[in-house]
């Protein structure tokens, strides 16, 4: 089971605070490596809070934790805090009409048993 979603990134003060403690802290990873999904979407995917999802598109892929939205229903719309994890999914040409950048990422999410992508792995991918 998988789902196509549009991901919108946003700022979060708690993640910002965790980032200031250190990019490599568990707290920063836990707040950054997660995707907020509509409750119905989560039920359809058969995942609960904290269970892992692979998020992938033409640009890249990351494994993050699922979190149920507390907002009103927003099917096919997901949210991620701006972070190195969300940036793995953002294309290069972010200033033209064909690519709206980190505010409208199209991706596919699917449940996985893989572990959460670690920040050290993200750095390795960039340096590879």
């Amino acid at each position: 089971m998988d789902a196509d979603v549009t991901i919108v990134t946003f700022r979060d003060i708690f993640q910002d605070e965790a980032g200031k403690k250190g990019r490599y802290t568990d707290e920063y990873r836990d707040l950054s490596a997660r995707i907020i999904l509509d409750r119905q979407e989560m039920a359809r995917l058969g995942v609960k809070d904290g269970q892992r999802l692979k998020v992938q598109n033409d640009v890249g892929s990351v494994v993050v934790a699922a979190k149920a939205s507390e907002d009103e229903p927003h099917p096919a719309l997901a949210f991620m805090i701006s972070s190195p994890w969300s940036n793995q999914l953002v294309g290069d040409e972010v200033c033209n009409a064909s690519n709206p950048g980190p505010k409208r990422i199209t991706a596919r999410v699917s449940p996985t048993d893989d572990g959460i992508t670690q920040i050290s792995e993200l750095l390795q991918r960039m340096r590879a």
């Binding site: 003060i13 605070e17 403690k21 990019r23 907002d71 719309l77 940036n87 505010k103 750095l123 340096r127």
Partner: protein, 404 residues
């Protein structure tokens, strides 16, 4: 009093009671910024090996001197003095200069700085504004004291009563953000990428026509609020800028229409403490706010000087006070990560971890003083508040320039 350099509000009312660990008036973000003084500090390294500061500066100078197309990136967390030193260095070595707004607020900021869109100070907002509009922006998370110091809660010269009586706060967003929750009476939820249609609908409502997009009743209600506004302030965030992109002229038209009815000003919600300073300095110096190359001597700006082109084509990059490997899209970050990187930064980041040379610097606002432009363009001066032996960005750049 100290100045918090945690965001572009540059709060000047920070009381230090027994040192930086017991500061008053800080928001959560500012508190974290102050505490970051004590964690994850960098040390001089060359190719992951410990080095002396002199050695790291010498190596950085050598890399830049030998580069044919160097890139100097960052600048939003540097003082105006360091930024000016950076522009001089770029001229000397024929480098490309990029700021952090290249992939965000660039178009909007240019329109504000060149006067195409009217702007005002945050003090004007506090004193006169009766309507604040947060569009694709969530200051409760990005600039936590924005509402309390300037845009919603404070009493001002013309607003002596409580905010419930005298101010309206509008949030336009794709999600019910923390700020949207605070101004829930005027929260307008948009599907992603429909901000242009929302603007058209507001303009229709202002003209007394039936809006074609959104809940007609609520759009007319918003039109009525804006018509009754005596002094309005619009705070656009990245959400609006990314959504409009090449249709930014629509925002210009909306502000022009609102300005026919009442005073309506725009203050872009830039993030880092001196983002606007770099854009203003570069504009004054070159006529462009970002993406300038001095490769052939004179300042050149165009598609070939875009951030992605600069990242791909440079053969060495100096990154100052910024973590592009965390904050930029993957492809651009990867292009940068493969170049010889020089990182001038007080704190560890993905970028310092990937850098060939790391030069530790003083943290501005704590260990180094200077001046910066607040998000509204007001110049704020600050002194160092603790004694330290770290060199400032400005001093390090001067040493690199001298060595080259």
């Amino acid at each position: 009093m100290a100045v918090c350099t945690g965001c572009s509000l540059l709060c000047e009312d920070i009381e230090l009671v027994g040192g930086t660990s017991h500061a008053k008036n800080l928001c959560r973000k500012g508190w974290a910024h102050f505490q970051s003084l004590y964690t994850e500090r960098t040390k001089p390294t060359i190719e992951d090996q410990d080095a002396t500061l002199d050695g790291a500066i010498a190596k950085a100078s050598e890399i830049l001197a030998n580069a044919k197309k160097p890139l100097l990136y960052g600048w939003s967390n540097s003082t105006l003095e360091a930024q000016a030193a950076g522009i001089e260095l770029a001229k000397k070595i024929g480098a490309a200069l990029e700021g952090t707004t290249s992939l965000g607020q660039c178009t909007l900021m240019e329109q504000v700085l060149t006067g195409k869109i009217p702007s005002c100070t945050l003090d004007d907002v506090r004193n006169y504004a009766d309507t604040s509009v947060f569009w694709g922006a969530d200051p409760s998370n990005s600039h936590p004291r924005h509402l309390s110091r300037f845009s919603y809660y404070p009493r001002g010269e013309k607003h002596q009563k409580s905010y419930e009586e005298e101010r309206s706060c509008v949030a336009i967003d794709v999600r019910k953000s923390s700020t949207a929750t605070l101004c829930s009476n005027y929260f307008y939820r948009l599907p992603p990428g429909t901000d242009d249609q929302f603007i058209e609908s507001i303009m229709a409502a202002l003209d007394g026509k039936i809006p074609k997009f959104g809940d007609k009743k609520r759009m007319i209600e918003l039109g009525t609020l804006l018509r009754k506004t005596e002094y309005g302030a619009l705070f656009p965030g990245r959400g609006l800028v990314y959504s409009l992109q090449e249709k930014m002229d629509l925002l210009q038209k909306l502000i022009a229409k609102l300005s026919e009815i009442t005073a309506f000003k725009v203050v872009p919600m830039v993030e880092h403490y001196n983002t606007r300073g770099f854009n203003q300095l570069l504009l004054d110096e070159t006529g462009f706010i970002n993406s300038v190359s001095f490769h052939d001597g004179a300042a050149v700006h165009g598609p070939m000087q875009s951030m992605i082109e600069a990242a791909r084509s440079c053969d060495a990059a100096l990154v100052i006070g910024s973590d592009p490997l965390s904050s930029l899209p993957f492809g651009i970050a990867r292009a940068l990560a493969k170049k010889p990187l020089i990182a001038i930064d007080p704190r560890r980041s993905l970028t310092t971890d990937a850098a060939k040379v790391v030069i530790p610097s003083a943290m501005c606002g704590f260990e180094a003083g200077g001046t910066a432009l607040r998000m509204d363009g007001v110049k704020i001066a600050f002194d160092s508040v603790i004694k330290g032996d770290m060199q400032s960005d400005e001093q390090i750049l001067a040493r690199i320039k001298e060595a080259i």
